[in-house]
């Protein structure tokens, strides 16, 4: 059997066995609706409350400052639109390298008459807090900057941006989907008013996520219905998911630091291995301020998809940094914003390592990448792209 290596943890992760075990009774034994008054409902409510307490303890916030949602995308929509719509009109600051959940929420606000500034980034993908300062206007009503970029792993200076936001009295939303449970987050020290996080990036289940909303922050709901989540997010709670998120967070609190060190070392081993064997490669993202397991590597004059396909055939899962859909190739908006030249950006491949990645996996990937890129380049017209 071919070896299988999963290096796409920024896309999703396997659910941790401890998380699965904790969730299972909530499918078949504790199945009541948490809103119901009877015993079945009360048991489910107790589980939701206990999980909320766990997440709150992990983030060092109050349980009533947390709203469970269906995913990072919903949390981002809620965070960005909820802050803006609560203020009716005005100006929003975000960056060009945000996840599409934030970017397209901002575009939706523009269509409704809001003004939006999309801040540039430097060659490492980092926002300059001075640009945030310059972008601030008297009518600025919200700032949304991600904690870490999912494609290149660059960690933004959210602490400095949060300080500016606080000084200006502007609420600050942070998309922390890629850092929650991987990198230290202190919403008080960082002056964060709303924070998106998700379960399935940290060995929890898909379909569960959350939004932290600082007490007293003016926010409107974007999903209407019943009185759930203190009337901030209507819909029957995803009880098994919430239980799983609570457990996943507990496991992260225990394992996060040691795993980050191990994963970082493996990521460096992989990059050093590839750099030593393959010509014309570059590592994208900030050299030090970066997610532990993310390596976004450009192979010049090779198209990402051909590498992803060839590695897939060797049992290796990575993701392409450019997307070819219906015959038109779009290089990643993140790499474009970083000023990566097109002949490099088209050959971007992201690997994201995780808790189960081993040194043997990494060595297999290095050997495979070396062979695959050499082979594809042999069929390549000189100077194409």
């Amino acid at each position: 059997m071919t070896r299988r290596v999963y290096l796409d943890h920024n896309a999703s992760t396997p659910v941790h066995p401890e998380v699965v075990a904790e969730m299972l009774p909530y499918f078949s034994d504790v199945y009541g609706n948490p809103s119901s008054v009877h015993g079945f409902g009360r048991d489910a409510r107790a589980a939701v409350d206990a999980a909320r307490d766990r997440v709150a303890a992990f983030l060092r916030v109050r349980p009533d400052e947390l709203v469970f949602t269906s995913g990072g995308t919903e949390s981002d929509n809620f965070g960005v639109k909820g802050l803006a719509l609560a203020r009716g009109r005005g100006h929003v600051i975000t960056s060009k390298v945000e996840h599409h959940a934030v970017l397209r929420s901002a575009q939706a606000l523009e269509a409704q008459g809001f003004a939006v500034s999309y801040l540039p980034v430097d060659q490492h993908g980092m926002v300059d807090p001075d640009d945030v300062r310059r972008a601030l206007r008297p009518d600025t009503i919200a700032i949304s900057i991600m904690h870490a970029n999912s494609e290149v792993g660059t960690i933004q200076p959210v602490r400095a941006i949060g300080a500016l936001a606080r000084e200006a009295g502007v609420p600050f939303h942070v998309d922390a989907v890629q850092t929650f449970g991987k990198v230290e987050i202190d919403v008080d020290a960082m002056n964060i008013d709303a924070l998106s996080f998700s379960g399935h990036k940290i060995y929890g289940p898909k379909g569960i996520a959350g939004l932290y909303i600082r007490r007293g922050t003016k926010m409107v709901s974007i999903q209407h219905g019943g009185e759930h989540e203190r009337r901030r997010r209507a819909g029957t709670e995803n009880v098994p998911g919430i239980v799983g998120l609570g457990k996943a967070v507990e496991v992260r609190a225990r394992d996060m630091k040691t795993e980050a060190e191990a994963v970082s070392a493996l990521r460096d081993r992989m990059w050093e291995g590839i750099r030593a064997r393959v010509l014309e490669v570059r590592l994208n993202g900030h050299p030090t301020e970066r997610l532990p397991g993310t390596a976004n590597i450009c192979y010049r004059n090779v198209e990402s998809e051909s590498i992803v396909l060839a590695l897939d055939l060797k049992g290796i899962a990575v993701s392409a940094g450019s997307a070819c859909t219906a015959g038109s190739v779009e290089p990643s908006h993140v790499l474009v914003a970083m000023g990566v030249p097109l002949d490099w950006a088209m050959g971007a491949v992201r690997s994201s390592l995780g808790r189960s990645t081993t040194a043997e996996d990494v060595d297999y990937v290095v050997a495979s990448v070396t062979e695959v890129v050499r082979r594809i380049r042999q069929a390549m017209p000189v100077g194409a792209a």
Binding site: N301, E303, A310, L313, A379, M380, P381
Partner: protein, 128 residues
């Protein structure tokens, strides 16, 4: 896998990849907006294709389409290749997903261009 075993085989083991020196005809085609590029070099003997080589930049299907085109073109009359259809290449790959049809179109376009170049050169020689 969204690609056929034939396509995967041609992608992993491309036939006739590389440059040809002093070809009797060469031609290329690219797909606007996508950056895909395919180039063929032809060696012609008595009006028929004796050898073809290709170079390609693009996704897996683009490389596979160029590779399979060199095989299906072997031994055929150059006049015939000057009207090669994308469908023939696609069929030889046992099909292409809807969003990758352009791989066969680029390969067919490049093969037609290379065949026309070979025909032009042959006529040029006769006149000379």
């Amino acid at each position: 896998m969204r690609y056929s075993p034939t396509l995967v085989d041609h992608f992993l083991n491309p036939r006739n990849a590389g440059l040809m020196r002093e070809a009797d005809g060469s031609g290329s085609d690219e797909y606007a907006g996508c950056g895909d590029l395919t180039r063929f070099y032809l060696r012609v003997r008595e009006g028929h294709l004796a050898e073809a080589r290709f170079q390609a930049y693009g996704c897996g299907p683009t490389i596979a389409a160029a590779s399979v085109a060199t095989e299906l073109a072997a031994g055929r009359a150059v006049e015939d290749l000057a009207t090669l259809k994308a469908q023939e290449i696609e069929d030889a790959l046992d099909g292409l997903p809807e969003d990758r049809k352009h791989a066969a179109e680029v390969a067919a376009g490049a093969m037609r261009a290379a065949a026309l170049d070979a025909l032009r050169r042959r006529h040029g020689n006769r006149e000379a």
